[in-house]
């Protein structure tokens, strides 16, 4: 690591700028290959520049934050807060905190946080506010238009709060967290919750059913009712697991997955199964 700036104190303003950049851009450059990585890097830039006057260090840091990243943007702010704290820690400790650890932590947290965040932000807060807006305009009033924007302060408030919390916890406790094993526990806990919530969410979101009916004792019954009697949600679960296994084995080949989904759906529809 090159020479360090003496006083590298990160200010609240720096954190706010990071948050704001992230908030504005994180979905713009979303790509299948790297998801939100460019936005993450873009958001971290001002802080990184401040911390690493030396260009070599700076370039390394920029690359660090261009690795694959994806999460839910609001609750996910907590991860940016942690990253900022860890980078600052790295500088203050004269490089004792390895860059790999910074990547490891953000990568370990992004999944669980996505699960939790999708449930809160998109699965709960959004439908509440948007339904309110829809109801207001169902007879032609323009009130609904304005109500939609309630979603901005609602989410920015907890996003910003989490960002600061991530930074603070990171700053005051990171070294000890890492040492005491708490960070592993936190990642595990976030993972548990993330998986649990993603399970719950996908149960209501993914839809796939058998088509067709048959006659039984004079009444018409759907084939799907048999499947429901066995294991409700069997088909959606199979779909998720199949795609998961594919990703696990072949990597993030989303083009393939999408085309395969389409082709299989068409075929099954053609032969009348779904």
């Amino acid at each position: 690591m090159g020479k360090m700036k003496e006083n590298t104190t990160i200010t609240k303003k720096d954190i706010w700028r990071t948050f704001w950049r992230w908030w504005w851009t994180c979905e713009m450059s979303n790509s299948y290959e790297r998801m939100q990585s460019v936005a993450y890097c873009y958001a971290m830039m001002p802080v990184l520049r401040k911390l690493y006057p030396d260009n070599e260090d700076y370039s390394e840091a920029l690359q660090r934050h261009l690795t694959f990243f994806n999460t839910e943007g609001i609750v996910g702010s907590v991860i940016l807060g942690i990253s900022v704290a860890m980078e600052e820690e790295r500088v203050e400790s004269q490089g004792k905190m390895p860059g790999e650890t910074i990547i490891a932590v953000k990568t370990a947290l992004m999944g669980p946080v996505a699960g939790i965040g999708d449930t809160i932000t998109w699965g709960t807060v959004k439908p509440l506010i948007f339904t309110l807006a829809l109801t207001a305009s169902v007879k032609g009033s323009i009130l609904g238009f304005f109500l939609l924007f309630l979603f901005v302060p609602a989410t920015v408030i907890y996003g910003w709060y989490l960002m600061v919390m991530g930074y603070k916890v990171g700053k005051t406790a990171f070294a000890s967290l890492l040492e005491s094993g708490w960070i592993n526990r936190i990642i595990t806990g976030a993972g548990i919750l993330g998986l649990f919530m993603i399970g719950a969410l996908s149960a209501t979101t993914v839809k796939l059913q058998f088509a067709g009916t048959y006659m039984s004792a004079g009444a018409e019954k759907t084939f799907q009712s048999i499947a429901d009697g066995l294991v409700p949600g069997m088909l959606p679960l199979l779909a998720i697991m199949a795609i998961y296994m594919f990703i696990k084995k072949k990597g993030h080949k989303f083009g393939t997955i999408i085309i395969a989904t389409l082709v299989i759906a068409m075929s099954l529809s053609f032969i009348g199964i779904v």
């Binding site: 994180c26 700076y58 924007f149 649990f196 399970g199 719950a200 989303f254 989904t261």
Partner: protein, 266 residues
């Protein structure tokens, strides 16, 4: 219709660019575009009614891993403007809108495939510490690409009427339309699979099934799932930590004890 079509094209570009995390689904939301379309076409209440009706379809939609199950932006722009121009009731407007909601999904997928290019460019800029370059990859290029990709279909459809597209769709066989709808139902699975594979850790994987079956068997909301999931996760974390610390303390004590013994013996 020219101005409406122009607005539709530009807005579809803008919304698809997705500026502002909490706002991007507002820009796309049918109710949101209803107001400007209503103003342009001089029928605000009518636009709001259609926007509200079409919005109902998409209000519960979640897009994990950015994998939208339906493009409500295209659906809304076309459904409201064409619906308004032919004085359609909400039911008819929905029938116009829905197929475009499905077709738009593919545009989004093309967008995210192309975006990968800009990530590669950002890699290079990182090497040379080119801040402006990275900013362009994060903001500008995606915008331009969105314009190229999304302006034409929205503009053309609204300008020439949905009729052409509709006729085309009407020519498709039933199983194909059904197949597309089925695929639409499965698409969110991709998003969920992505997130599951991101979490990865084998030892906690089964929690996915617990969450899934909790909702399937007991028909509770995701909020209810959280009411159980949060305490369970916290309990496991804290109890495990506590138990580990107890063991470590006790083994250290044992070690210390035996050291003492040795001292006494020595």
């Amino acid at each position: 219709m020219f101005y409406v079509a122009l607005f539709a094209g530009l807005w579809y570009t803008f919304a698809g660019w997705r500026p502002g995390y909490s706002t991007h689904e507002i820009w796309m939301f049918p109710l949101m575009v209803a107001l400007p379309i209503g103003l342009i076409m001089g029928n605000v209440p009518g636009a709001m009614i259609l926007g509200s009706a079409i919005g109902m379809l998409y209000v519960g939609m979640v897009a994990p891993g950015s994998e939208t199950p339906a493009d409500m932006s295209l659906a809304g722009l076309i459904g409201i403007s064409i619906g308004l121009s032919i004085n359609a009731d909400p039911g008819t407007a929905i029938m116009i809108a829905v197929p475009f909601g499905i077709l738009g999904v593919f545009l989004n997928q093309i967008r995210r495939t192309i975006n990968a290019k800009f990530a590669h460019m950002a890699d290079k800029h990182a090497l040379s510490c080119d801040e402006k370059g990275i900013a362009r990859c994060a903001i500008l290029y995606p915008l331009i690409m969105n314009f190229v990709l999304k302006f034409p279909p929205a503009f053309v459809t609204v300008y020439y009427g949905a009729a052409v597209v509709e006729k085309f769709i009407a020519m498709l066989p039933g199983w194909m339309l059904n197949g597309i709808a089925v695929a639409g139902g499965v698409l969110p699975a991709i998003g969920f699979a992505i997130i599951i594979s991101m979490i990865g850790k084998r030892s906690i994987f089964p929690f996915f099934f617990l969450g899934f079956f909790l909702v399937q068997y007991f028909h509770v909301s995701t909020i209810a799932a959280a009411c159980f999931g949060v305490p369970i996760a916290v309990i496991i974390v804290l109890l495990t930590k506590e138990s580990q610390d107890e063991v470590i303390a006790s083994t250290n004590k044992v070690d210390a004890d035996s050291s003492d013994d040795e001292l006494e013996v020595g």
